[in-house]
């Protein structure tokens, strides 16, 4: 193929180019030829294939049919991933916090602690975010799925381990437990740890 041929495609080359471009399916040599009044289009196809070689679009023959396609190395352009930055909803944040503090927990336990039902989508969001994982099933009747946090969770929140989560005392000191610090103090004093929580959970569940 000469430079001149490349720069100034002849009428047949242009016709073949336009025909294949506009076609809604790959075409055989015969079909192209028929479309163009029986002209011999083989040379034109070779010229075109040469012209498009290395460009963003290529002329290729597959199963004796010719068509244009995006260059294989640019196929990633056809399917782009786009990241939409989205803030976790209030509900999802609560569920995440509960999983982090109480893991492993079942959905019923989460709901009991939150005191409200947890939409299926909320946990899905956390699973999608990669912060929560399914950690098996609890060996109780119904074998509920239990959830735990992931290393990604620790990484995202800059925690070395779950132990880095502030304890109840620290939450209280930060004023995050405002209306109930007295009661919290009481059960802390008892040294029973999570027990009251579990009890609460039971009550809340019953109330559901």
């Amino acid at each position: 193929m000469t430079e001149a041929a490349d720069r100034e495609p002849d009428a047949l080359v242009r016709a073949v180019e336009a025909t294949l471009f506009a076609a809604d399916a790959p075409m055989t040599v015969k079909a192209i030829s028929d479309h163009l009044g029986g002209a011999d289009v083989r040379d034109a196809l070779a010229t075109l294939a040469g012209h498009y070689a290395g460009r963003g679009v290529e002329l290729v023959e597959r199963g004796e049919r010719w068509h244009f396609q995006t260059a294989p190395d640019l196929a990633h352009l056809l399917r782009r991933e786009r990241e939409d930055v989205r803030r976790l909803s209030r509900a999802a944040t609560e569920v995440l916090a509960i999983v982090a503090y109480h893991e492993p927990v079942s959905r019923a336990e989460i709901e009991a602690i939150r005191g409200v039902q947890t939409a299926k989508g909320t946990l899905d969001v956390l699973l999608e975010a990669g912060w929560v994982r399914v950690a098996g099933r609890r060996e109780v009747p119904g074998r509920p799925v239990i959830y735990a946090t992931t290393p990604d969770f620790l990484a995202h929140f800059g925690l070395a381990s779950r132990r880095d989560l502030p304890g109840i005392d620290e939450l209280r000191a930060a004023g995050l437990l405002e209306p109930v610090d007295e009661a919290m103090a009481a059960f802390d004093f008892d040294g029973k740890g999570d027990a009251p929580d579990a009890q609460d959970a039971g009550q809340a569940e019953a109330g559901d």
Binding site: L88, A129, L176, P179, D200
Partner: protein, 266 residues
């Protein structure tokens, strides 16, 4: 003609006009088909074009005559004429008489002004007619030029990058705790001395004391009043239990009197 063409270009090109005009007629007899026109202005424009001059040099009087002739013929043939054709005919008849009247009897607006206005309207409609024809004759996508027949299409897969910061997380947990506070509040009512601890406490105290002791003496000193009540109840039950087990003796001198106990066999 060529002069005006050069001057006015698009909108004077009578010969270039190949729009939806009515069928040409040799003897200038009009094609009496009302469907062919879109209203009186359209008919007037068609008549004007038959004058084969620039629309700006059109003879309004001649145009009026042609229009009225046309309407007369249509009526002679008893064609059903739409009202707006008749309104236009009446108005043109008025315009014609006004144009022919001596000047001093004329009202405002002057017939010349009305004629000019009609002319301007015809020019504008004519211009749009030609513009439409030229537009339709362009290389049109899907008819003359084509987009790619089978584009791969661009797909954008959206992925959510979830955001949540440390403070929100911690605050959320705090608020869950705060929200369930009424429930947690019950914990304070459970500031109780359990039966087990009462048993242990009473047993231990019986072990170091041989004399009768009043039950109240077994209660923890300085305790919260509510804890005292709980402790009293638990200690009472513990005393009964110890008595049942034969580990303690109970004595009460009168109804609702102080309950005393001591180690069994002391």
């Amino acid at each position: 003609m060529s002069e005006t063409d050069a001057e006015t270009g698009l909108f004077s090109g009578i010969d270039a006009w190949d729009g939806p005009a009515t069928a040409p007629t040799e003897d200038k007899a009009l094609y009496l088909e009302l469907d062919g026109w879109e209203g009186p202005l359209d008919l007037l424009l068609d008549l004007a074009r038959r004058q084969k001059v620039d629309l700006r040099r059109i003879s309004i009087l001649g145009l009026v005559d042609q229009y009225l002739v046309y309407i007369d013929r249509a009526e002679a043939l008893r064609l059903e004429l739409a009202a707006d054709y008749l309104v236009m005919a009446a108005w043109l008849a008025y315009l014609k008489s006004a144009l022919l009247l001596p000047r001093d009897e004329q009202e405002d607006p002057s017939p010349e002004e009305l004629a000019l206005r009609l002319q301007l309207r015809l020019q504008r409609l004519g211009a749009m007619r030609e513009a439409a024809a030229r537009l339709m004759a362009r290389d049109r996508l899907g008819r003359d030029v084509f987009r790619r027949g089978a584009p791969e299409g661009l797909r954008v897969d959206r992925r959510n990058a979830w955001q949540c910061d440390w403070f929100d997380l911690i605050q959320a947990y705090g608020q869950v705790k705060a929200r369930t506070a009424p429930v947690v509040h019950m914990v304070r009512d459970r500031m109780v001395m359990t039966l087990d601890s009462a048993l242990a406490r009473v047993s231990a105290m019986l072990g170091v004391n041989l004399d009768w002791m009043e039950l109240r003496d077994f209660l923890p000193p300085h305790a919260d009043p509510r804890l005292r009540r709980s402790a009293l109840a638990s200690s009472f039950v513990a005393a009964l239990e110890l008595a049942r087990q034969g580990k303690a003796d109970l004595a009460q001198d009168e109804t609702f009197g102080p309950l005393r106990l001591r180690r069994a066999g002391a």
